[in-house]
Point group: C2
Chain length 684, copies 2
Amino acid sequence: MMRRMIGGLLAISAAMSHADEGMWLFNRPPVQEVEEKYGFKIETEWMDHLRESSVRLSSGGSGSFVSAEGLVLTNHHVGARIIASLSTPERDLIQNGFHARKFGDELPCGGLQLNVLVSIKDVTAEVQASITDGMGAEAAVMARRAVIAKLESVPDEESERVLRDVVTLYQGGAYHLYEYRRYTDVRLVFAPDNQVASYGGDADNFEYPRYCLDFCFFRAYEDGEPVKVDHFLKWSEEGAQENELAFVSGHPGSTDRGLTHAQVKAMRDVWMPYSLEMAKRREVLLEAWGSRDLENRRRSKRRLVGTRNWRKAKDGRLAGLLDPGFMEGHRASEMSFRKRLDASSEGKDAEAAFVEIEELLERQKQEGFRGALFGGGDAFDGELFQIARTLVKAAREGEKPDEERQSGFREADRVSLELRLFADDPIYRDLDELRLADSLSFLCGKLGSADPAVAAVLSGKSPKARAAELVRGTGLNDVKLRKRLYEGGKKAIEASDDPMIALVRSIDGEIEMLEERYQRDEEILKQCHERISRARFALDGETGYPDATFSLRLSFGKVSGISEGNIPFHTNYGGLYERERKQASTPPFDLPTRWKDAGKKVDESVALNFVSVHDITGGNSGSPVVNTDGELIGLIFDTNLDGLTNDVAYDGTSGRAVSVDSAGMMHALEVVYEAEELVSELRK
Amino acid sequence: MMRRMIGGLLAISAAMSHADEGMWLFNRPPVQEVEEKYGFKIETEWMDHLRESSVRLSSGGSGSFVSAEGLVLTNHHVGARIIASLSTPERDLIQNGFHARKFGDELPCGGLQLNVLVSIKDVTAEVQASITDGMGAEAAVMARRAVIAKLESVPDEESERVLRDVVTLYQGGAYHLYEYRRYTDVRLVFAPDNQVASYGGDADNFEYPRYCLDFCFFRAYEDGEPVKVDHFLKWSEEGAQENELAFVSGHPGSTDRGLTHAQVKAMRDVWMPYSLEMAKRREVLLEAWGSRDLENRRRSKRRLVGTRNWRKAKDGRLAGLLDPGFMEGHRASEMSFRKRLDASSEGKDAEAAFVEIEELLERQKQEGFRGALFGGGDAFDGELFQIARTLVKAAREGEKPDEERQSGFREADRVSLELRLFADDPIYRDLDELRLADSLSFLCGKLGSADPAVAAVLSGKSPKARAAELVRGTGLNDVKLRKRLYEGGKKAIEASDDPMIALVRSIDGEIEMLEERYQRDEEILKQCHERISRARFALDGETGYPDATFSLRLSFGKVSGISEGNIPFHTNYGGLYERERKQASTPPFDLPTRWKDAGKKVDESVALNFVSVHDITGGNSGSPVVNTDGELIGLIFDTNLDGLTNDVAYDGTSGRAVSVDSAGMMHALEVVYEAEELVSELRK
């Protein structure tokens, strides 16, 4: 499955243009491209309806309204974290699913919010005007932060319902202000059994053919009532048809197609090996702990699934980068562009920017992993540390004028920050202790136990003993304490004798220094890319689409199977039952009891999953797939292995988007879950 | 479970002496120590009987004769590799177990051999005489290799049945020549179902309480008939008694108790993080592949179990090293010893040796991981590469005079080498391809894709594509081809167009250089430790026992539970069934059908596993535990988590050896497996 992947490196998009490629801006849709290739004219009204029906989830995925009463369709894996937090040992909503047959039974999801894009405004001139010639990188960070904070600010009385976000496009080539309608009261309506939602588990993840019912429903509420929405997607009973033109409307998280060759090399040789090493050790830890006991398994399953998913995605992406053929093409394309730069003074400046990026990367390589370990928090895995870190940082940033604060800690972020900080998700101390101990050992391995900062963190104890002391000693699992510390600000943090707070306090100076260094580097990269973009636009014009930024995008392409291996475009319920038989019902190929019982009622010929040629990536999970009539025919939930290189280079030959078919979801709701209420709501 | 762990670093034993500590030499048993503490006198005859009954398995574990007809008891996990190789998809001897009710049904185990220690001779003077003052490190390697090869040589007509091995003790403080009776025709007699042999799988591994029937039986044959042996251990029907004195006779693989502090630090900060990173990525790979399909799972299970076991052991050991308290004690003890060195000229020389070791370690750190990746083969995981490497190396070493060859490729090693090289174990190309691709990616991550040696290995392809080309293209799965290449020597290797042979040929120069460098470093370390040992013996006398070397040792101690947590000394069958119930029969806590069916016949009060205070480590797996009457009361199969630091520092407080009780094995044979033939053979 695709989760939103947070990239550590910045990108601009080269103006490439292949068949069906592109994550297009809603204010610059591929009207001409689609009309030329498919003879279909994208109308403004059609786009507006799709935009108003599209939803972004704060848990890091996409979704859509599918009824007038605020019913939202997304992936089960996008909702899984919330669903797990609503579970208890006695009532495991992940394993057994959930279904509220009336509004009153729908379960409030603290911490989850939905955003619907209302408008886009180009604010490039205002943002770029804040940076003046000769301004140092740190001053530029502050200046840009200040103008963005101002643009994003929302009057207090509106902040519950309005979110403004300045999106950096073409890595500083353009800035757009996105305004969202915000819904903070979201409730769980329906979730299928996990065994069928993520059928085949990690084993089948990123593979195709697939057999997953990876969907669930939430509902947006306002003032205690289901929201009435004007725009929602009509549910197609027929589902996807082979070779039809379809569109995906969703929020691809991030892509790196505009990286310079030096950046791609650094990613391949330094940063990806590092982060994969960390991901694999976390995966081993979670698997080992989960294997000891059924209750451990339940508690760690979601995290393990997420870790595996991330690791598999990164491994696939790294495999693409380790292909010398790809790298040579990337290098050659950059070289040919750089050769064309000699002509103008803008060109010379862009060439200088390429060199500056190389120098910065070399310096980062020399600095090693301290920034990621302390600043990025890799050395401190676990919920309780994260809470402490957020509290200390909120107190620190709270002392600064709003416009100087770091992203995530400004007034405009207050609602999200508090929702997250005060969400009463269960915290498993035993697992938190293991995670912290393991990441502290990772820290020792990376910097050496003799490193003064490491020794200070461990304070004379082994990682295991230190983690035990911190996790057993902290009171931060108590939301009341968090509120007290948060509201008490810097004074309360300084006075606290909570051991986890004390640890973060003792390293917050180093953390802040590393955060600032990281931001300064990001700023330098941003300015370099801006200079390169300017030269590119001057040479080739502003064509194409920018790299993904977890903002709403439109992709287009055909519903189509894969010629290599002759893989048909869709699978059906017959295939699901057959895979279960062949794997002797061994997990993760076992079906829930109700699916076994339903056997005869299920029509084996009904479509379950399908593939299409759409340019998507992590963050697109839960995106609606619509046909030219704007009807919902499917629900994006994954990409196949060959599609994993999309983040760096689009591949339309064997890379595919994988969706749940609308017909398959409807059939499951009708015959297996007997969810008459939902079925009739969807047919309204 | 404990497997033999091959340590990368050398060690001598500091003359430490704690209660019940020690892996004692059979030619210097702890007679005085045991008599003083327990009032039991170890007699020569008692020792000889135990020695003649003890067996070393070439698969890397220990065992014992338990009948006059050559029946050998060892752990299921020691035999698992062989048992797996005798399995097919139709007849899975790992999953379902095996039982030959008559000699004719016993299954020949190609590649497995047993060694019984016949005599020990001190050859220190002869070996040390070969090294003269002023000889360089490389000349010393050659000179020592030559004298050892001569001492180990066996006339051709005896080589089938005699194995001679010069064991380096106290890291060069002493050399002993061990002569073994060798059995090369070994057959599988009995194996229980894997689910009960390794009950709880990796989840319960290194934990206690435990419920494992980790045993199996082989039989030694000669001239097609079961061997008649004069010495074997009488089977105790009562099993282990609380607080009784017991002995373990087995082959601990290696310990590092004599490392200098600088070596321990390098292990903690450089080498263990590196090897754990590799182990964890291999674990992730095997788990992911096995999860895709039941047949994948069967094929990779043994390797996954081994990888997890190794990783857990190393993680436990590293956790010990990351304890600043332990490290400070280690440092202080070395410092106080080094302070005492000033007095004599030998002392000054020893102090210089400490410094030389530090310098060597610093140089190794600068050289990085190239030696491990190319010389150690970490970059080339997979059976087919290993075969190619062995063939190319055999051809290369075959050109040299016997005494100059590397260990493992001398005349004396011929039988073992050929057994291993021509064993027709199944090779799974798909898994081999994945393993090779993954380790090539690891290589890219460690040295960077731009490294010339890495680029040469990949030859313009991605790790994935290169591995596919090599594994799909090689014919080395065919034993006949291997024989032809082996017999054809250098000429045949040079003429071969097999792609895997061609790859190894192209890097063999680098491999040989790195192997030589490694051996030179080992020699320098050896000589340094020799100088330190001399000074230590001069100050304190030659007391105690040397570090483990996979040679026969005796440990003594009490059968005893663990006071922290009040854990009783033994578990019983009632506990086994209870754990299954509590974990809802979820793998790895499910029991095989026959164990469920046998439910009522099984006496829940019969002892299953027990713990004892014995100083053991990997390689001791399968060791007999005997009482003062020399009767077999148990079978070592593991150590608990706290015992994992044993390799560096013995811990007798909460560290424990874990055994299968002899009473428990007998009960299972009688009531569950209805193995009357074995039961009566054991009672004879």
